[in-house]
């Protein structure tokens, strides 16, 4: 059986990729929770994060040798923070410029979706125009190597860093959403925005904050993804759709569902590589998406942000 042979070798990259999908999926699910709308342009938030990280790392590392020790750690943190901030800025502007006027006008959802698609097309082509259309590699911030092996599968430094950073961010998000006043606001708007506004929640501000949080995670994911593969003006498209599939798989509007769905999708996608040629990998996510929509449209953990968080 093809599965058992290389299972572990494919599981480790699968978990790595899954954590990245989860980070992006959270952005979709948060916005969906408060606005009931797919933020198609979220993939461009991801792309922005990648480019921001690329520029910061190029400025920090320069053409010198690979940094090590405390230097690597601080560079890595600088990259993550900077890309997260830029992702958040783009997400915030997107909400301000594109979505808020529509919301004030009570536009039908078709209009939102078309705006989001247009914004996405505009942003990634603008990036392509400004920063070139070739793939760019983020300079090495640490020496990659094998740390240990699990059942014959190698675990690399890079994978540990990505998983560690992603898990830390997800834990932080979970705490913010469940324990803080800000999170309570988000949950309240997700549950019933009209009642929330009657209770004194400033809906517009909460929606802005939701976009910013999603943008922080998405931007950081873009940087991590950039260190894993490369940075490219169209890098957001496929991970974006896949992360959306992950969000639906976990139950759209449900944060823990998005985490679970992202992880599962990453693993399924990677492990299925042992059974089929890698050219067809991109199909897996869509097949999963269509199957979920057909048989369990509410996803694994159910839909509502307010109820499930």
């Amino acid at each position: 059986m093809c599965l058992s042979q290389h299972f572990w070798q494919f599981l480790i990259p699968g978990i790595t990729l899954g954590c990245l999908y989860a980070l992006i999926a959270i952005g979709y699910t948060l916005v969906y929770g408060v606005l009931q709308l797919i933020n198609f342009a979220h993939s461009e938030v991801f792309m922005t994060g990648g480019f921001a990280g690329l520029f910061v790392c190029q400025a920090l590392v320069g053409t010198g040798k690979v940094p090590h020790g405390a230097q690597s750690v601080s560079y890595m943190l600088a990259g993550i923070c900077c890309s997260a901030v830029f992702g958040a800025i783009v997400a915030f502007l997107l909400e301000r410029v594109a979505y808020r006027p529509l919301r004030r006008r009570n536009a039908p959802r078709l209009i939102y979706l078309i705006t989001a698609i247009g914004a996405s097309l505009f942003l990634f082509n603008l990036a392509g125009k400004l920063f070139g259309r070739d793939k760019a590699n983020i300079p090495d911030l640490y020496t990659d190597g094998v740390v240990f092996t699990v059942f014959g599968a190698q675990v690399r430094v890079q994978q540990l860093i990505i998983v560690g950073a992603a898990v830390a961010m997800m834990l932080a998000l979970d705490t913010v959403v469940n324990r803080t006043k800000l999170g309570a606001g988000i949950r309240a708007v997700a549950q019933d925005s009209q009642t929330a506004s009657l209770m004194g929640v400033n809906i517009n501000r909460v929606i802005s904050q939701t976009f910013v949080i999603g943008g922080l995670l998405g931007g950081a994911a873009g940087f991590l993804f950039g260190t894993y593969l490369n940075v490219h003006y169209q890098m957001g498209f496929l991970p974006g759709i896949k992360a959306f599939a992950a969000a639906v798989l976990g139950g759209i509007g449900n944060i823990r569902g998005a985490m679970l769905g992202g992880l599962l999708l990453g693993i399924v996608e990677s492990v299925s590589q042992s059974c089929m040629s890698s050219q067809w990998i991109d199909v897996v996510a869509f097949v999963v998406l269509i199957l979920v929509l057909m048989f369990r449209p509410t996803g694994i953990l159910g839909q509502r942000l307010g109820r499930a968080a």
Partner: protein
């Protein structure tokens, strides 16, 4: 500030900035952005910030910023004058509508005649380049846009995999003319393939739509996006069937008539193809215009405006949505056959996802739901970039960026489009008052039990 919105009385923050300054800042940012968008060079991966450098160091930036300030000043003056003025009167338009129905009918027929005559005569006098633009860009995309209008404009669904059906149509044509590595059971004339491609795309549309149209409408958008990706992956990876990235192995033959003693063979010349295309377009437009006010068209309107009410009145909403989706798909397939035969060469790169969004932007720009608007929108937005590109004013790679910008700007300021359908405009206005819907994006009422 603007944050107050629909909230109950809330104290304004005392440190709020003068809104006029905020607007000035917005215009300045827009000016800088436009400067960035109009840079003629393109970035490279060796020096990522080259373009930004060039854009902001050239005097053109100052021109843009001055223009931004000027626009700001004019709008502020206008705003200041308007505050005192009375509310604009809405009723004038309504009175005018009813008085001239007879005149309008006549003038509509006359203008239709004029347009048809112009479409037949004018291309004769154009240069070969413009004839080619007319066929390869305008005609193909007008046909595509008219088809997508059924899905987006009339049924209120968002189909982002529209070009996938275009590809299916084109490859069906390539298959049955024996241009693919696999040999077909029989080789056919492209004319005969037209109905076959329509049926194939209809079936593909039904297959894709059946599971997804039951769900909320925004899922359809993403599933169709995925469908496009799958179709392209299939075309790329199934080398032995489709020729992979290299595309078709033999040239797809041109259309030809060989019937009742009439022999005619279309060639590389553009003009005959132009007449073939507008002939097809005329048929499609005639059929769709009949459809618009038929029972089916009225059902679409009902679904758009209030899906639950439509279902309660016995409109099988899922079936009609599926029908719109499949009709759109088959139109796209039809265009695909024409396209493949016209160009003779197709490969997976001929069908990028951006094309779907471009066609969407033509529909939106022209005015969704209005056939005339869609035709005008698609003609403008295909002809203009081709001309600008020819004059070296815009780079080809930048066109998707402008398409995206057009989409956003239209949605923000004129969602009903250039030449709106009156019904659609009314729906959008009612929706903003919270009375009705203007799309079919909610969950299908009969699909809800699942």
């Amino acid at each position: 500030m603007s944050q107050i919105g629909e909230l109950p009385a809330r104290v304004r923050r005392s440190r709020s900035v003068d809104p006029r300054l905020v607007r000035l800042f917005g215009w300045l940012v827009l000016g800088a952005l436009l400067r960035l968008m109009t840079v003629t060079t393109e970035g490279t991966s060796t020096d990522h910030l080259l373009v930004i450098d060039e854009a902001f160091k050239s005097p053109a930036l100052i021109a843009w910023l001055v223009a931004a300030v000027a626009v700001w000043a004019v709008t502020e003056l206008w705003r200041a004058r308007r505050i005192g003025a009375a509310v604009t009167v809405h009723t004038a338009g309504v009175r005018k509508q009813w008085s001239t129905i007879a005149d309008r009918d006549l003038s509509r027929k006359l203008s239709l005649l004029a347009v048809v005559a112009a479409a037949i005569v004018i291309p004769q006098f154009l240069s070969e380049f413009y004839q080619r633009v007319l066929v390869d860009q305008v005609a193909v995309f007008v046909l595509l846009a008219v088809g997508l209008n059924v899905v987006v404009g009339w049924a209120g669904l968002l189909d982002l995999g529209y070009i996938a059906f275009f590809a299916i149509g084109a490859y069906t044509c390539a298959y049955f003319t024996g241009s693919l590595p696999v040999t077909p059971p029989f080789v056919l004339n492209p004319f005969v393939i037209l109905p076959i491609a329509v049926i194939v795309c209809l079936a593909a549309g039904l297959l894709l739509g059946a599971p997804t149209l039951r769900l909320r409408g925004d899922y359809l958008a993403i599933v169709t996006l995925g469908f496009h990706e799958i179709v392209v992956l299939f075309l790329v990876n199934k080398n032995n069937w489709t020729g992979g990235n290299q595309g078709v192995s033999k040239t797809v033959p041109h259309f030809s008539i060989n019937l009742f003693g009439i022999h005619y063979q279309w060639t590389l010349a553009s003009l005959p193809y132009w007449y073939l295309f507008i002939g097809m377009l005329a048929i499609v437009v005639f059929l769709f215009a009949r459809l618009e006010h038929s029972k089916v068209g009225r059902s679409w309107t009902a679904i758009r405006e209030d899906e639950v009410a439509a279902a309660a009145n016995g409109v099988p909403t899922v079936r009609y949505k599926l029908m719109a989706f499949a009709i759109g798909a088959s139109t796209s397939g039809l265009a695909g056959v024409l396209y493949a035969s016209r160009l003779g060469y197709i490969n997976p790169a001929s069908f990028p996802i951006v094309l779907s969004i471009s066609v969407l932007s033509y529909v939106i720009f022209g005015g969704m739901g209005a056939i005339v608007g869609v035709i005008v929108g698609a003609s403008l937005l295909t002809f203009l970039p081709a001309v600008l590109q020819e004059q070296n004013l815009v780079r080809q790679e930048d066109i998707p960026m402008w398409v995206g910008a057009v989409l956003v700007v239209m949605m923000l300021f004129r969602p009903q489009g250039l030449i709106p359908s009156r019904r659609r405009r009314r729906e959008l206005r009612l929706a903003s008052e919270g009375i009705a819907d203007a799309d079919a994006m909610s969950e299908a009422p009969e699909g809800r039990q699942r």
